[in-house]
Symmetry: D2
Subunit: 282 residues, 4 copies
């Protein structure tokens, strides 16, 4: 049931979507052999994209991080991030004024435009919030949780503005044995506390997959049947890919361990088309 | 804050999406004056679509029901229903075999294809379920809740198959003073009981809006800024429209009463672009 | 880690609380050897009680069902049911008038008093509900789910009255391979649909354990340290017993299978003091 | 419907339970006139207790804070706090070893015993956690949220130990216009992230009311019918009091505003026996 020849799977599709963390890389670098996968796709004229719940950096910066690891194939135009959806939302729906953000200054640069200025929650003065038109959760770093999450709560009590969560993940691996709390968990705590409905972008939400689908360059009218989503997480990558109508491959190099895969598929009812030890090939 | 001239709103957009129930019609017929709205849109070359969480009938049958009420403008190609997404899912992901359904026979005809046969949960024999490849919740009628919901639960204990919920609503109005329980509530009960993840189609899910967006005929490359979503329910029509990047208008002829609108907007944080007494015009 | 000598566990306690289903009996009769357990407790002057999420019958009727299976030790005064808590609630808080019930007529007899009359949801006329002062969910049988659950919803829309759920279980085993949907799942569906807060009685709620604690006859001032709760379900028996401060024993003759026990304990964080293959002894 | 003569309500009961915050005091001191209420109760031989979701200090320290505000009637033996339940749980169920705590050192002193030592999450070394037998959430202060909440998550990944939440509140008022995030919200975030079941103490849980009930000195066998619970919050004070079988009075000096009271009662279905502008009397 668990495949060890991923090349035979890849050969059936024209386009492949990859999750980033746990599929292409881990906390300590690239998955060994993943460069062979990308080379195989290039050699056979197949298109591929990285579809990632990451709003901490722009696509350019994400591409640069792959470049530094020796991967030149993952250019910015091959990266679809939840941060891009947040930026699009602000462009369509907020349009102008000031957007408060929870995250690093670096994560916020990407959403700034000529009309839309940003301000860190660190620098927000609660006595002067009348020109803040939206709040965006971008990253778990760049602010003091004790004071600034409390400030976030009180900002929302004063202003009924749209709240965008640009990364819905609850945790991410910080090392072989440690998890970090991701901004999705912090946003959920504030949402539960204030009792309002936040707007979330990120897998498994279909908007991520549509966005990726619309970015496909070389196969502009490809059928969903010819696209494969590859991920390590049942509740995001596989559920979202399935719901969007794609075939899906679960790999065992990240969140899902080989010994748990069958049990989790049975208990969640989230069923990948394939299970493979890894997305790497020889 | 509550507009009474909806024509001035409509004039700003090229394309309009309408929710059906509570916006175009109620339990006892058309909203008076809604025919003027459709005539205005036609006269001014604007495109419009009905975007509805309804899987009980095919678009052809839904269009026929408007025709019987004297509305000839709402043709089948102007109707986007959650049933269409369920059908697309089955086509991409299940492809062949037998699909069990919870609903009326009429609701199931629409999802049948040459490769995909359907069977009512009423007729399922739990000792012979090996060829059932998916389960679809379509309608709250057409089966006995006592025996057939229990049978649904036991079918899912025997078969780990995709479960599709083609109408996420919990209730619908049966008369001026009575609500009926919709199939979305029944599906949620089974999902909570079995502990698996079902696949839901219907507003506020973005997939409904993308599907509608891809069906726009007369303005094929229209910007989302030129589309208006009109609905009576904050949590489905307005939340979904907002998230997809559309301007939104809340009307007060259905689920949301005039006296509650401001309170609900403040408490939910779901903010429509406009509030109008009705979608009808003179 | 899994004990096979339950007598040595029992010997350490003065009082034992048993869950009924999955511990003393299953769908097809008594757990073999359970009569030895009860005899051992009697012979050693230990006190025991059955603590059960069952509101379908009175303690007298429950005792009679054990009697028919050949067990004479489980008298009505040794049975603590969630139905008893519902009855106490009505006595303290509703006091007089009419109580509508969802369940069999048999389940309702028990909650009738001189001041408090009952009416089946089957017989409720929605045009005449002004004298209904409470609603109680008692059993999944005795009414038509299609019509009467809808009637329940509309009753609650007309009357803002206390709603009591006297059995919080979602399912119960109907045979070796089939589950039935319990009234707790039906009540949850109505609660989610109407958006109000129902009052639930049943394990793991501490009120069940307090009620049992107050019924202990032979050891009136027993310390919680000398009471053992024996159950087959982590989320009800073990969680509730732990929270109340009791030692707990998980048995593997019901909801929890031997092969799953360790995984479930690890994933839920609900940790029994002991795990035993059964509550039966030689 | 809203009473302004609270004395007539008090006159009907032998024992009164008061919530603390929003009923007896607010962020800037005592509710004016509350001293008259306590004097009336004393003069008429009625018994009263403060039942509070507060684990940040011991009953002695809480009593001292009332003394400093000029109230001498609220002695330590009249205070029932959720911290007392946490302490009792540790005494019954953990018994010995090391308990990690999230909160101030001051909050932890109270739960220390001869057999049970405590360690702040600040000082926990994740490489040396084998002797930690439980984790308790006590207060939102006394630690760094960024580093120590992450450490809490990783501690629980290494040790499957009981986790006790001794204050279930999500927020508390810090000033007339600002809320603070309470430790209950932080604990909920960690619980959702790790996916385990934590043990919560605090209203509306019945264990708080039983604990208070068992502490009644002057009316040892008082019927629940002769006890009144007075609170400012529907979901904790009123829901919990109702469920335990007590009459309940909602006061409008705290979380529930006069203009919202009727709407909230209708939408939640949590129905107090009385609504009073205040617990103060002339």
């Amino acid at each position: 049931m668990i495949l060890d020849n991923f090349k035979s799977v890849l050969s059936k599709y024209d386009v492949v979507f990859f999750d980033a963390f746990g599929v292409l890389k881990t906390y300590n670098g690239l998955i060994p052999g993943i460069e062979n996968t990308l080379a195989y796709l290039n050699d056979h004229g197949k298109d591929f994209y990285v579809v990632t719940n990451d709003a901490s950096r722009s696509p350019d910066q994400l591409a640069e991080s792959y470049f530094k690891m020796g991967i030149t194939d993952i250019t910015a135009d091959r990266i679809i991030s939840s941060g891009m959806l947040a930026r699009e939302y602000l462009d369509y729906k907020v349009r102008a004024g000031l957007v408060a953000y929870v995250g690093t200054d670096n994560s916020a640069h990407y959403i700034e435009t000529a009309e839309l200025k940003t301000i860190s929650i660190r620098k927000v003065n609660l006595d002067d919030v009348s020109d803040i038109n939206a709040l965006v959760f971008l990253d778990d770093e760049g602010f003091d949780w004790n004071t600034d999450l409390t400030k976030t709560l009180n900002l929302l009590r004063k202003r009924n503005i749209p709240v965008i969560v640009a990364n819905t993940d609850k945790t991410y691996p910080a090392s072989k044995t440690r998890l970090s709390i991701a901004v999705g968990a912090l946003a959920k705590m504030i949402e539960d506390t204030i009792g309002r409905q936040f707007i979330r972008f990120g897998k498994p939400d279909p908007q991520m997959f549509i966005f990726a689908y619309q970015h496909i360059k070389n196969y502009p009218h490809v059928s969903k049947r010819n696209i494969l989503m590859v991920g390590d997480t049942l509740h995001t990558d596989i559920l979202g890919g399935n719901k969007f109508g794609l075939d899906t491959a679960l790999v065992l190099t990240g969140n899902t361990q080989a010994e748990d895969a069958e049990v989790r598929i049975r208990s969640t009812g989230i069923i990948p088309t394939y299970i493979s030890v890894s997305a790497a090939i020889d």
